[in-house]
């Protein structure tokens, strides 16, 4: 395996500075090269090999979005942008800072950047953790670094929540994963400011396979926020991440994602939380971009009284298919789950809600409520609902409500009769529709989202 130094131009016209990349395609040699380059322990290399075999054996999912456009042989599986790790913002190369500028990370967030891990290509290059958190024993690192620095705790949890044989794309990620975040919150520690990470695909044909692992010890709290913005590329890209979260007894973890991949990206992500007794696990998952998304954040409620909440937001425009939803698995008594899905389809886009609620025998007194609302902006667009309920216990409460609505003539007429243009009126209706989810987002994200929606309405309304 040779190191290839490149300095070519791509869409964003920033010279790439990566020093190591594997050639296109995927086989055992590539996996070995990735693991070797990262100087990983033997167990991780073997884990990758095993995962690669599972990936090869597993069939593509026969449901959900059409994935026939993915050519696994035409992708790069590893690019390292820089061999140097930066701890201080001032040491981050100027061209990378410029890229953030162009993406438009708001000023308010830059203040938080002192505590942010940002991913540039497939490696964490920047890490800084607020001193107070370090004092509290909070670990917030790039996943690769965490493997080197905290091998025991890493090995104990890695691949346990989402094993490689969970699905084909979890296996793929397990074989070639790179980057992502590792968060460890000790017992009783409340992390009051959200931990934030930015991800971005930066090379055409670059697959991005980050791997995030969060462990919240008993009685702790952490909110992790992940936002993605990608520039436009000419060829298809694959984003296949795995997020594993362990919520210990009485702890609470909230994980917020706003995904806005460019419209050529396949976004196939496996996200799961294990929630122990009296713990609370929350997913807020917004899918705006990508060509196809398949993402169903899951809560596995394995301790008595555990709670799970999933808020899913999907916006599908022209050429997009958002297949999103959530899963709640009730394995213990008195567990509760809520899944709220809001989807918007426009310009011929398609959004699907796909959800699973499973309550096993013995999970008595459990409650689950699913609500999915779909809003269609025109006749070209499509919305589907695929709910599955598997209930093996008598003594439970299960609710499901689904609505599909059109932006109606009467609503538009009403708002326009007050002097709003059709575009403004539509934006208002759409923003009102997703308000229950947006109000759960950190303010900067809510503002960004509002701006994005208004932008896309301008494109879609006459």
């Amino acid at each position: 395996m040779k190191n290839i130094k490149t300095n070519y131009k791509y869409g964003f016209s920033k010279p790439e500075t990566e020093t190591f990349r594997t050639p296109k395609g995927l086989d055992k040699k590539i996996v070995e090269a990735i693991s070797g380059y990262k100087k990983e322990p033997e167990w991780m290399r073997d884990f990758r090999f095993k995962s690669l075999e599972i990936f090869k054996q597993k069939a593509m999912p026969g449901w959900g979005a059409d994935l026939s456009g993915i050519n696994f042989d035409d992708l790069y599986y590893y690019i390292n942008p820089s061999e140097k790790k930066f701890r201080d913002w001032k040491d981050v190369p100027t061209d990378i800072k410029d890229t953030y500028e162009k993406i438009g990370i708001p000023q308010a967030e830059r203040l938080f950047l002192a505590g942010v891990g940002a991913q540039y290509d497939s490696e964490m290059i920047y890490h800084s953790l607020k001193t107070q958190w370090e004092k509290q024993g909070v670990i917030f690192l790039g996943t690769d670094t965490a493997l080197q620095k905290y091998p025991e705790v890493f090995k104990q949890y890695f691949g346990k929540v989402v094993p490689p044989d969970d699905n084909k794309f979890a296996a793929l990620n397990s074989a070639v994963w790179s980057g992502g975040s590792f968060v460890y919150v000790p017992a009783g520690v409340q992390v009051t400011i959200p931990l934030q990470a930015y991800f971005r695909i930066n090379a055409a044909n670059m697959g991005q396979f980050e791997r995030t692992l969060i462990i919240a010890e008993e009685g702790s709290f952490v909110h992790y926020v992940e936002g993605c913005t990608a520039p436009i590329y000419t060829t298809d890209s694959l984003h296949s991440a795995v997020v594993e979260i362990v919520v210990k007894r009485g702890a609470r973890v909230r994980y917020t994602t706003i995904q806005n991949w460019s419209s050529n990206v396949y976004n196939l992500v496996t996200k799961r939380m294990l929630v122990e007794e009296e713990g609370v696990g929350e997913w807020i998952d917004g899918n705006l971009g990508s060509k196809k998304t398949m993402k169903y954040p899951s809560v596995v409620l394995q301790g008595k009284g555990a709670k799970g909440e999933i808020l899913s937001l999907a916006m599908a425009g022209a050429g997009q298919h958002q297949d999103a939803g959530g899963k709640a698995i009730h394995l213990a008594p008195y567990t509760t789950s809520t899944i709220t899905s809001k989807s918007i389809s426009m310009g011929g886009g398609r959004s699907s809600y796909r959800g699973l609620v499973k309550i096993i025998n013995g999970a008595k007194g459990s409650k689950s409520f699913v609500r999915c609302d779909a809003l269609l902006l025109d006749d070209l667009s499509r919305s589907d609902t695929y709910p599955t309920n598997i209930v093996r216990e008598q003594n439970v409460t299960l609710g499901h409500e689904a609505t599909v609505s059109r932006v109606g003539e009467e609503q538009l007429f009403y708002l326009m009769s007050r002097g709003l243009s059709e575009t403004q009126a539509t934006s208002l209706i759409v923003n009102g529709f997703i308000e229950p989810i947006v109000k759960e987002l950190p303010l900067e994200y809510a503002v960004e989202l509002n701006r994005l929606i208004n932008m896309s309405m301008e494109g879609s309304v006459g």
Binding site: F413, Y414, M416, S417, R418, S421, L428, I429, G432, E435
Partner: protein, 245 residues
Amino acid sequence: MLNVHATTRDGKEILRGITLKVKAGEKHVIMGPNGGGKSTLAYVLMGHPGYKVTKGKILLNGKDVTKMSVDERARKGLFLGFQYPVEVAGVNMAAFLRVAVNEKTRGKKSNAKIVSPIAFRQELMEKSSRLAFSDDITKRSLNEGFSGGEKKKAEILQMTVLKPKFAVLDEPDSGLDVDALKYMARAISELDFPLGLILVTHYQRVLKYIKPDKVHILVKGRIAHSGGADLALMIEKEGYEKYQD
């Protein structure tokens, strides 16, 4: 102000030639039996896409607005108080109204000053308390979860904030209890701007508080009779029967 024939989308003629002139500051009342075309008239004036003007013109301050879009008419100073106000979930009423006020201001001059959020909020609070809203209106979504009476009062509130030149109020009094009716009528008669008003109603009782300059009887898509305030009283006693042919 107008002289129109109008049909529904499928060509059914509802308004069969209505000539009506409302001067700035005048109050006109339109009464008439169900199905006579009162609500259609209100919709046609505002430009509802479900109706087509087949003949005639709608003039607003001498300007022909017949071909204008709904929002343009609104920005030119026309207002419609809905008989059945529409709920818009998740849209904050105060924020929405401020956008609407700013759009109207911006429509006049490109460099027009927009209203400050604080001043606007103050105005809204003050006007909503005069209409006796029990809850803080600035925190609520547009008509969502409003009672029937609250919806009707909210239409009037919107009107007092938007300050149109002409307004059509489609049955603002139906479904209101005596107190709400009083508040509503008082808000209309104590406006802080001049308004040409067309008030569509079934009931004479609202005219105790709002003194009309003219009353028109609308039957089968035509104005069958016009008169002064006493005409409404007569209708209350005698009904519409004698205007049916």
